[in-house]
Each structure stands twice: as structure tokens, then as C-alpha cells.
């Protein structure tokens, strides 16, 4: 699951840096904006069946690749 998410992120952000640095701040660095954030939510739902509503979490809670992986994992385990 972890590699799958990182692959998806790399594809959406168009940058492999997200695979190398899992703690990179996606919003600060401009890797993710409102549009790519949307694409990430759709990709997560399509690939894992995990629905994260756009307003459900604070953006900071999905601010790094690691946090995204953890959010998906905790929802899968529910």
C-alpha cells in the first residue's frame, strides 16, 4: 500500500522527490495545490476504496506523504 501511494503521489505531483522524502511539506513546497489535492483524494478513493471528504480533515493533517499514508492506513483498519 505504501509504495502504491507514493507512486500515485509522484505521478500526481509530477516529482519523484515525494518518494525520497516522506516528510516533505507538500503545500509549503507548492508540490500540492487545491487541484492536485483533489486528484489525490480521488486517487485514494479509487485505489483503496477509502473516502476522505474534502472538508473532513485539516489540510495540515494530509500535509506530507507520511501523513497521507498514515491517514489511509488508519481508515483501512477501521
Amino acid at each position: 500500500m505504501e509504495t502504491k501511494i507514493l507512486d500515485l503521489l509522484a505521478e500526481i505531483c509530477d516529482d519523484d522527490i515525494v518518494k525520497e522524502n516522506e516528510d516533505i511539506d507538500l503545500f509549503e513546497t507548492g508540490l500540492v495545490d487545491s487541484l492536485t489535492f483533489t486528484e489525490i483524494l480521488v486517487a485514494i478513493e479509487d485505489n483503496f476504496g477509502v473516502i476522505i471528504a474534502p472538508s473532513e480533515v485539516d489540510r495540515a493533517e494530509l500535509g506530507t506523504p507520511r501523513k497521507i499514508i498514515e491517514s489511509v492506513r488508519s481508515r483501512l483498519n477501521k
Binding site: 507548492g30 487541484l35 489535492f37 483533489t38 473516502i51 471528504a53 474534502p54 472538508s55 473532513e56
Partner: protein
């Protein structure tokens, strides 16, 4: 009578906040005192116009009924899009009636704060549909939609965030800290609104009205822009400060908007709770739907349509007059251009972090923002009339 204006309001507010401070410093829950104050201020502010009071109460009672019955239906029928659509439409209907009736000079269902209260109710319905909201406490919900500091003009809080604050009692130390920043914001807001905005307003009306040379029009845009900022940021700061003193960590509405380096940055700093509401409940949802339905072959085209839609709706929300709608479209175009430019321009990628580029970008942004305010002010109509008169 309105919120946060006139010395009688402030005297009364400060006196009534004293018991809140005592309760807070003792580490007790402020929940019921907040409700009591909300009831008092609604009675006081709306008391002068019984029809407004009546509409407000009908809308509030109707909203409770709506969110409770929608929650019931959501549990029973899951994600049914028709029921969902009906629920959102019902929350929106009074606002639409009010705005449309205004076109013919009417004022059906108009009451102070109607534009803002709708956001809170619709957000609750949408998040119920999402499955994020699983229970709704009537008292907390009423407290949330009618919370007096933010009732008439925001900031627009979110129900789950509010409920969390509403139901917890802060420790005396936590409350002390919140009280400190609350007092600071309240006083700063008063200074902004009562001193700064009044100064800019006086300058505006004395020196820039009825003068239509290009330099005066440009001056009007700037002075009006600063007036708007101090007026609205001042109001918001007073509302946030009062909320803090009452134990609610209301989100901020402004973050140094005139330092923005591009238009996207501007909307993250100006009327933040409004733009993030639109982002979360219109833009993102439209984009997710578009991606699923493969509505656009090019992602940038999709994003541009999404941004145009988002900002045009925001313009319409401000009012159905032409200048508000043009204002929305204007910002939609600017955001779309910014998005395409950021994604496509190698010049941008190469220079975006350089000091000279940021200075230039800031300067361009500031002027685009001020032009936006000029559109928003409705002043351009007079300018066009003056220009036409000169040509004839």
C-alpha cells in the same frame, strides 16, 4: 442597532463579558453563558425590527428541523443524491428568495446575517452526506448557527470544530492564554474599524468621489481597498476576539492580504473562512466529480472551469448587482491564469524564489487586487458615465 457598532454596544459587551471571564478563569464550561448572551444580543439587535427577528427565528428553527431530518434520512437511505440535493436546496432557498426579491426592490425573508448563516447550515448538510457528521445536538447546532459575534458577518466557522470547543471546558491556564489573545484581537479590531477605516472613508468621500481623471480613479481604488480591509478585517478581529473570550477558537479571517505574492496567495489571506468554504464545498467537489466523469481531457482546462465557477458563484453570493458578478468573474479569470502560468511557465519555475521576482509579483498582485476592489465598489459605473459624458 447592529453588532459591534456604537458605544452602547461596546459598553454592554464589555460588561457582559466580565462574567464570562470569571467563569472561564474558574475552568468551568461557558456553554450556557454563551447561549444566554446570544439570546440577549439577538433580542437587542433584532428587537427594533420584529420582521427580521421573526425571519431569523423561522430560519433557525427550520434549519434544526432540516439537519435533523436529513441526518435521519441519510442514516436510512445512505448516500442518496436526490435527498441530498433537496436538503441543500432547502437550506439555500430563503437566501435565493431574498436575493431575487431584492432585484425588484423587495426584501422578502431578508434579515441581518442571512448570507452567512446559510454557509453554516449547508456545511452541516454536506458533511452529513459525506458521513463525517454522524450526530447533531440541537442545542449545540443552534448555538453554532446563531453565535452572536459571528452571526451577521462571519467568520464562517465549521460545525464540528465549533461543537468541540462548545462542549469542552478549558483549564484556567488555557483559558488565560485564550483570553489574552482575545482581548488583543478585540482591541485591535476596534482600532481598525473605528479609527483606521473611518480615516480612509473620510479621505475617500472628501477627495476621491466625483473626480474621474485616471489618477483619481486609481487613488479611489487604493483608498477604497484599504478602507474595505480595515472595515472588514476590523470587524472580523472583533468577532474573533469576542469568540476567544467566550471560549471559542474562531478561525481568523485575514492574514496580511496586501503582502500576497500572487492571486492564489491573496485568496488564502483575504476573507479566509469564505474562500476556504468555497474551496472545500464547491471547487474541490466539482473537480472530484469532473475527474470521475472525465469531464475534461486537460486537467488545466478543468481547473480553470472549476475556478471560474467557484469565483462566479462567490460573486453572485455577494449580490446580484452587475458589479459583484463581474468581480467574481474577474477573480475567476485571474485565478485560472495564475494556475496555468504556474504549471506551464518555465520562466516562473526558474525565477519564482528569486527576490526581484517576488517583489515584481507582489507589485502586480497588489494592483490587480486594487482593481478588483474598484470593480467591487461599483464606482466604475460612475466612471463610465463620466467618460461617456465627456465623449458626447
Amino acid at each position: 442597532m447592529s453588532f459591534f457598532s456604537g458605544y452602547r454596544f461596546f459598553v454592554c459587551l464589555f460588561i457582559l463579558l466580565i462574567p464570562a471571564v470569571v467563569i472561564g478563569l474558574m475552568g468551568k464550561k461557558l456553554r450556557y453563558y454563551r447561549l444566554l448572551l446570544t439570546a440577549f444580543f439577538i433580542w437587542w439587535v433584532y428587537g427594533g425590527s420584529p420582521s427580521q427577528l421573526l425571519y431569523l427565528l423561522i430560519y433557525a428553527a427550520g434549519s434544526v428541523l432540516l439537519v435533523k431530518s436529513y441526518l435521519f434520512l441519510r442514516t436510512k437511505y445512505n448516500r442518496n443524491r436526490y435527498i441530498y440535493g433537496c436538503a441543500v436546496a432547502s437550506a439555500l432557498l430563503p437566501l435565493v428568495i431574498y436575493k431575487v426579491s431584492g432585484l425588484w426592490g423587495g426584501n422578502i425573508f431578508g434579515f441581518l446575517g442571512i448570507s452567512y448563516i446559510c454557509f453554516r447550515v449547508i456545511q452541516t448538510v454536506i458533511e452529513t452526506y459525506d458521513g463525517v457528521i454522524k450526530e447533531i445536538n440541537e442545542v449545540t447546532f443552534i448555538s453554532f448557527i446563531l453565535f452572536f459575534p459571528t452571526l451577521s458577518s462571519g467568520p464562517i466557522d465549521r460545525s464540528r470544530r465549533f461543537a468541540e470547543d462548545d462542549e469542552t471546558a478549558l483549564s484556567p491556564a488555557e483559558y488565560r492564554e485564550l483570553l489574552g489573545s482575545g482581548l488583543y484581537k478585540l482591541v485591535l479590531g476596534m482600532f481598525y474599524k473605528i479609527v483606521c477605516s473611518a480615516v480612509f472613508y473620510t479621505v475617500l468621500t472628501h477627495f476621491f468621489e466625483n473626480r474621474y481623471t485616471p489618477l483619481y480613479v486609481a487613488g479611489y481604488a487604493y483608498v477604497y481597498g484599504f478602507y474595505m480591509f480595515f472595515d472588514f478585517a476590523g470587524y472580523s478581529a472583533m468577532a474573533v476576539g469576542t469568540s476567544y473570550i467566550l471560549g471559542i477558537r474562531m478561525p481568523d479571517n485575514f492574514n496580511k492580504p496586501f503582502l500576497s505574492v500572487d492571486m492564489t496567495d491573496f485568496w488564502n489571506r483575504w476573507h479566509i473562512t469564505l474562500s476556504s468554504w468555497f474551496r472545500d464545498f464547491i471547487f474541490t467537489r466539482f473537480m472530484m466529480d469532473s475527474i470521475r466523469k472525465k469531464r475534461f481531457s486537460d486537467r488545466l482546462v478543468g481547473a480553470s472551469v472549476g475556478l471560474m465557477l467557484n469565483m462566479t458563484v462567490m460573486g453572485i453570493w455577494h449580490g446580484l448587482e452587475a458589479h459583484y458578478i463581474v468581480y467574481g468573474i474577474y477573480h475567476g479569470v485571474l485565478l485560472s491564469v495564475t494556475e496555468v502560468y504556474r504549471k506551464k511557465s518555465s520562466f516562473y519555475r526558474k525565477n519564482k524564489n528569486k527576490a526581484w521576482y517576488r517583489m515584481l509579483s507582489w507589485f502586480v498582485t497588489l494592483n490587480l487586487v486594487m482593481l478588483g476592489f474598484l470593480i467591487f465598489s461599483g464606482h466604475l459605473k460612475a466612471v463610465l458615465h463620466a467618460a461617456a459624458a465627456k465623449l458626447n
